[in-house]
Symmetry: C2
Subunit: 203 residues, 2 copies
């Protein structure tokens, strides 16, 4: 092979990337976001600071990458398809209950809170977040909603972006503002309200 | 009068408070939040830094106070009642269109974005925000919803906190993540979805 760097180099690079992302997640779970530095991430990962800066321009970029990597699914890339048992109410309740549980998990909470504040003030990061994470997830969810439309369980004229907002945004806002309990009953209530708003029998 | 400090002192104090809050709002509208300092606010307001620290413990506390003061309504305190023409759909559309316009205003945008990021990571500030601003506003909105329930325009069993979340949270999330256009049509669509979800004819 004439590849000068070779497979060993690639493997080392990937190992160092994984170590950096794992160190970042560990720090985010332990420390307030504003206390975390690129230096601390490098020390925890056992690499030099420059190794991080060669790949990511800023702390928020590494944190974002660490978060994205959570939804990588082994060698197949992402697996974000929603369950489709043919019953939209049951499938959405399953998904929303799992989502509520995720937001109630303290280490996930810290990571998403850090990310949310970065995205709120950094329009470029917000665009990257939409492109790399929010949009693929939304597409997977919309595929499930389209299947419900085809099955006559959802208004075929419903604006699916609006459906997703009505379903998810209340949970997001309640979590962000710590405005109320995040429970299974709440997850179910959001699904019920959404299906009443966009069910097939809407006026 | 035996009041040592007297009415002139009170007036001066109130004038200095107003100058500080106005300076804070002006700076928030001009500068990225992280660049603003208590020193800069003091200089702009023409007061000493200690005058600010005697009243507020931190930059975020002053910014929060500056924001709260926006909803003060002269000497009567707050006036946050919603219109009640007897038509819940028309009244909510009026309110939601105004809210969408407010979020689309660049200087309001900067202020709320700064506040939202502070609240996201500072649980104490989040509690103060809920107590002093979110709760009084929510109560005013719920009073209007109760009147709609009494008029048979809204399910009498509806959970009014959930109704408010379904109505407002999609707008908040779309604005925060810059996820789509903030238009009159969008304001109307949120009211329509909410009234379908919680209308009197719900199953």
């Amino acid at each position: 092979m004439s590849n000068v760097k070779g497979p060993d180099h690639s493997r080392r690079k990937e190992r160092s990337r994984q170590a950096i992302l794992a160190a970042t997640r560990a720090l985010v779970a332990e420390e307030p976001y504003e206390k975390i530095t690129v230096e601390a991430i490098a020390a925890r990962a056992g690499v030099g600071k420059q190794t991080i800066y060669r790949r990511w321009p800023s702390k928020s970029a590494v944190v974002f990458a660490a978060f994205l990597a959570l939804s990588e699914d082994g060698e197949d890339g992402r697996s974000v398809a929603l369950p489709d048992t043919g019953d939209i109410e049951a499938d959405l309740k399953l998904v929303m209950r799992a989502t509520v549980e995720e937001f109630a998990d303290p280490s996930f909470d810290r990571m998403i809170r850090a990310l949310t504040t970065e995205i709120a003030v950094d329009a470029a990061l917000a665009a990257e977040y939409r492109e790399k994470l929010a949009r693929p997830l939304a597409e997977a969810k919309k595929a499930r909603l389209r299947s419900a439309q085809a099955a006559g369980q959802l208004d075929p004229a419903a604006d699916l972006d609006l459906v997703l907002e009505v379903l998810y945004a209340p949970l997001f806002q309640r979590w962000l503002h710590r405005g109320g309990p995040l429970t299974t009953a709440y997850a179910d209530a959001l699904v019920d309200a959404t299906l009443r708003a966009f069910g097939p029998g809407r006026r």
